[in-house]
């Protein structure tokens, strides 16, 4: 209520008129009707309605709808949020059941480690019928690198169908698979190709309308967010501003439409005095944008996934593999898995790479405090 009218997102001419009429703080506009404001400030009725909508969003029309949410209510709400399985049980556990709808996650990794594979897997798995514990939604795939090859989508979709058929055999859910065929899976993945950052920004402006027309969309991926923003920019502050604006819009869409949003990011080498570390690209401030960050990396011949940032799950690392059918758990004897994990943990290089960026994040938080 103490906010100054001058700081509102309004046209300067209107702001000048409001301040001229004595409406200096937001509190001054409280319980003023649009008609009164029109006369007081000498603006049109349309303008005054707009002003009030900006100052008191929603509450202005629907009365006292804005209220506090209690933590328990949010917990209930989150329980009803479904998550999209990756088909790798270990990875699902790390993520808290899979990729959550309504949330954003960043997936980082070196080329060829499986970022695109995971995105394709999720785009297919989003469509698993509710009777099989799926989300039964549609997917949007925004490709900036040209790595979305439909041949691979077909492989993964066929394997997912096979998987559900086997479950179907066990539990005998009749008819559940009727609408779950290769054709429907493919026709429910909406593909956009953006060649540069301008096209990507434009696409994000158009997404609200698209999602309004396609309310069943539950998964949206930008593969990758890094590619269009890693060249063409002389001035890095412009890049930071655009990236943050983009992420903000996507975060908003995620919660408004209950969509799981995945952004993939490249890795880059940061040189420090005598050693070099593998860190996610796009700079330090980008690390704060996404509430969750999953890093995929190689350890010898084994792929590992590691949740390095999350406000809800504890940090953990698990092995996974990609077969011709898609994402899977590592089929090793338990002892071998634990052995490979412990060897991975003891390997200082990798752990350092993760720890280091983590530690620096903490440092920055302290700086802010």
């Amino acid at each position: 209520m103490q906010r100054e009218v001058a700081s509102l997102a309004l046209a300067p001419t209107i702001k000048a008129k409001l301040i001229g009429a004595g409406f200096v703080r937001v509190g001054d506009l409280h319980e003023v009707s649009a008609a009164e404001l029109r006369i007081e400030a000498g603006i049109s009725l349309q303008e005054s309605t707009e002003v009030l909508q900006t100052v008191f969003p929603r509450s202005h029309e629907k009365g006292s709808e804005t209220r506090w949410m209690k933590a328990t209510e949010i917990l209930e709400q989150e329980k009803s949020c479904r998550s999209i399985s990756t088909f790798c049980a270990a990875l699902d556990t790390v993520l808290g059941g899979g990729i959550m709808t309504g949330k954003m996650i960043e997936i980082c990794g070196t080329p060829g480690v499986g970022k695109t594979q995971l995105c394709i897997q999720l785009a297919v798995n989003t469509q698993i019928p509710a009777s099989f514990g799926g989300v039964e939604g549609h997917s949007v795939y925004i490709d900036t690198e040209g790595s979305f090859l439909v041949d691979r989508v077909v492989d993964v979709a066929e394997a997912a169908l096979q998987h559900c058929k086997q479950q179907h055999g066990k539990t005998g859910q009749l008819g559940a698979l009727e609408n779950f065929t290769l054709e429907t899976i493919l026709s429910n993945i909406f593909f956009f190709r953006c060649h540069d950052y301008v096209e990507l920004l434009a696409q994000v402006h158009l997404l609200p309308d698209f999602l309004f027309k396609h309310p069943k969309v539950r998964f949206l991926v930008v593969d990758s967010i890094a590619y269009p923003f890693r060249h063409e920019f002389e001035d890095l502050s412009v890049r930071t501003r655009l990236l943050h604006g983009l992420a903000q819009k996507l975060l908003q869409l995620a919660s408004q439409h209950n969509i799981a949003i995945v952004l993939t990011n490249h890795m880059t080498i940061r040189l420090e005095q005598n050693n070099s570390a593998l860190v996610p690209a796009l700079g330090e401030s980008w690390g704060h944008v996404s509430p969750q960050r999953l890093v995929l990396y190689w350890q010898g011949k084994q792929r590992f996934a590691s949740l390095t940032k999350s406000s809800r799950q504890k940090e953990q690392m698990v092995p996974f593999q990609i077969t011709s059918h898609g994402f899977h758990d590592v089929q090793l004897f338990q002892s071998q898995v634990t052995a490979s994990i412990s060897s991975a943990t003891s390997n200082t290089t990798t752990v350092n790479a993760r720890k280091r960026c983590r530690v620096e994040d903490d440092d920055e938080h302290e700086d802010c405090l």
Binding site: A11, G146, S147, F191, G245
Partner: protein, 364 residues
């Protein structure tokens, strides 16, 4: 920029013109609040402007994966591939090279990289029915002189390599005249070539393949270790230019890369060595790897074809003697795997091996 063709409200149109905004890019690069101040417009009007501008840039509606799969969108043709000129290698790569994207061919010297590239330059000239794209190729040399003699030999023996192509079809193609050779001795001439000269050839429909042999040579000699950041920037720009060429003309780009021994421990995490576990990594580091769609690694083994495949002795007339391997290090649509091949007088051929034979190689 002509704003009149956009369906903007008259008041918004006037504001945009008054603010002297030059391009749609400028509008999208500004935040909503900045636009409101700059154009003196209300929030709703700015939203309207952003949407109209965005729609003018994104004209194509959403495509479903099903449409892609059925080849219904000519602008995203994923069903056509460029053949390598050998059915076994094509099968190994699921039909050949995709039309859009950078394919990298890495390997030690004398592994057969240039041979494969030359065969691609010939294969692209066949009609689509025979795996080609019915157009020529640009071959950019940065290391050696172009092996013109060897090319002539390959051309004269095409009938042996491709017996399935009718003689009259083969005779109608002037193979030698459709390969445009460029020598780029430094980065500047390379940039000139890819940003000016090649687009001209492509827009005339003369060329549907670009080979860059090799991308590593220029970058490895022109930059010292301390110039890593400048080098990375140049690599990104080159990558972006090649990507643009590739997607606007539906043209595969093949880049030859050298390899480097992986001695530095930190480099071990950069990627996988693939299932054959050669202790070498493609040169140029992560920045370049991020630009590559398909990474293939070729190498020669110490074995001869007879040692490994005695049953093929009858066919030796068309096989070379040294057994070589081609490996997929990463590709969005192919699992890590490898395939044997040989180089003979008439060209490059894959060898069909069964699983047991492949496995025995892994163990040795």
């Amino acid at each position: 920029m002509d704003w009149d063709h956009l369906e903007l409200k008259p008041s918004v149109l006037l504001a945009v013109k008054r603010a002297k905004i030059q391009s749609t890019k400028e509008i999208l690069s500004l935040s909503g609040l900045e636009l409101q101040t700059l154009l003196k417009l209300s929030q709703d009007d700015v939203l309207h402007l952003q949407k109209i501008v965005a729609a003018s840039i994104r004209k194509t509606p959403a495509i479903t994966a099903l449409q892609l799969h059925q080849g219904e969108c000519p602008s995203f043709d994923q069903t056509t591939k460029l053949s390598l000129g050998c059915p076994i290698l094509d099968k190994f790569l699921r039909g050949g090279l995709p039309l859009v994207g950078i394919a990298e061919l890495a390997g030690e010297s004398s592994a057969g990289k240039t041979q494969i590239c030359m065969q691609l330059c010939l294969s692209v000239q066949y009609p689509q029915k025979y795996g080609g794209l019915g157009a020529g190729a640009v071959y950019i040399c940065t290391e050696d002189a172009f092996p013109a003699k060897r090319l002539q030999q390959l051309i004269s023996l095409q009938h042996r390599l491709r017996p399935e192509v009718p003689v009259d079809v083969m005779r109608s193609i002037a193979f030698g005249n459709n390969i445009y050779i460029e020598h780029a001795g430094d980065l500047e001439s390379l940039n000139m070539c890819v940003s000016k000269r090649i687009p001209i050839l492509m827009s005339r429909g003369l060329v549907r393949l670009v080979v860059l042999d090799s991308v590593a040579a220029l970058f490895r000699c022109e930059f010292e270790a301390k110039d890593a950041i400048v080098k990375a920037k140049h690599l990104k720009t080159l990558g972006a230019t090649l990507h643009n060429l590739s997607s606007s003309f539906k043209t595969p780009i093949v880049c030859v890369n050298q390899v480097t021994a992986a001695v530095d421990e930190s480099r071990l995490m950069e990627g996988s060595f693939g299932i054959l576990e050669k202790k070498v990594l493609p040169a140029l580091g992560l920045t370049w790897s991020s630009q590559v769609l398909i990474r293939l690694m070729v190498s020669r083994t110490h074995l001869s074809v007879q040692d490994r495949f005695p049953q093929l002795t009858n066919h030796l007339w068309h096989l070379g003697n040294i057994l070589r391997t081609m490996e997929v290090i990463f590709a969005p649509h192919i699992a890590q795997s490898f395939c044997f091949y040989t180089i003979a007088m008439d060209g490059v051929r894959g060898i069909q091996a069964n699983n047991a034979e492949q496995a025995s190689t892994l163990n040795t």
